[in-house]
Symmetry: C2
Subunit: 159 residues, 2 copies
DNA sequence: ACAATTCTGTTATATTATAACCTAAACTTT
DNA sequence: AAAGTTTAGGTTATAATATAACAGAATTGT
């Protein structure tokens, strides 16, 4: 079951599991999880907030990695291709995927206060795609949904 | 009823209606549909393809308008605020809205071949938001969905 | 007519992303 | 292990998208 990022959880194991999944997925696909790629993935998973490409550059630099834009974009593109991360278009930012490997629509809620993003169940998205295909004869290949608003904690603070 | 942009239609009346709705909406809200704003809206409606801000600049220049980025972004922001256009985040582009005034999620299909975008019925989006609010206690304030794929005509050409 | 507000002009710059070309590392075949 | 092939990374430059900040003009309200 997809966890709730707005509740307390063992975040260390969160990241661990993401890395384990990543390693397995790379192996299955004959891809290499190189040091830059792995560190970028870990950084994306640092908290549950979508992270911008240019936020990663200085962090990579600190660790002695090369830090020009192409480095980070290549790593991000690699992770996107494998489905290990999603891109949040409305924020120009990237977030870890909870169930890579399974082909699925990108569907997130982002809290406008704390910035944390929760991946949502995408079954309604699939229905939407099916409906569009049936009603209008479209062929849907990709889809993304982004919701914005307040998470439970930030609603309380606002009141 | 929302029309189907992938079928032949009287596009002139398409634009006309959009302008009429815009004028009415501005009046209702005490806003001014100035020349730049109106031309930008017309240009966004020129065809059913999402248009980038920087595509508009030279067109405005041709017509003697000032053409620096802030000019077009201001007009676009104005139109967005009134709900007369939507932003397609995954394309950094803008498209006319079929039913401005009614507050509704942005929900589009974009054909990757011909580039035309069709606004879709957003009721399933609303269900998704409601579900997220009920299940996770979120407060959804905005939402957008973008589907990509092939429209009926472009599917035929591909075969 | 005056003040207040809204809109536009202008310059500069921030932010996000990619092109192009070259070097290095890793796999592959013998 | 050597040679060839593929894949990944380094580097420089630049493209594409978006906003800040401030001044001046037009419009609105009184």
């Amino acid at each position: 079951m997809t966890q709730n990022v707005y509740k307390q959880h063992d975040h260390h194991s969160c990241v661990d599991e993401a890395l384990t999944r990543a390693r397995r997925l790379c192996e299955q696909n004959g891809q290499r999880l190189t040091p830059v790629r792995q560190r970028v993935l870990e950084m994306v998973w640092a908290n549950h907030k979508p992270v911008g490409a240019y936020d990663l550059l200085p962090k990579l630099a600190e660790e002695g990695f090369n830090s020009a834009p192409p480095t980070v974009y290549r790593a991000l593109d690699f992770l996107l291709d494998l489905g290990l991360i999603h891109r949040i278009s409305s924020l120009n930012a990237f977030i870890g995927c909870n169930h890579p490997g399974e082909d699925h629509p990108s569907c997130f809620f982002v809290c406008r206060e704390c910035g944390k993003a929760q991946e949502l169940d995408a079954s309604l998205m699939r229905s939407l795609a099916t409906k569009a295909e049936q009603d209008l004869g479209l062929k849907v290949e990709q889809q993304m949904t982004e919701l914005m608003g307040l998470c439970p904690a930030c609603q309380k603070e606002a009141s």
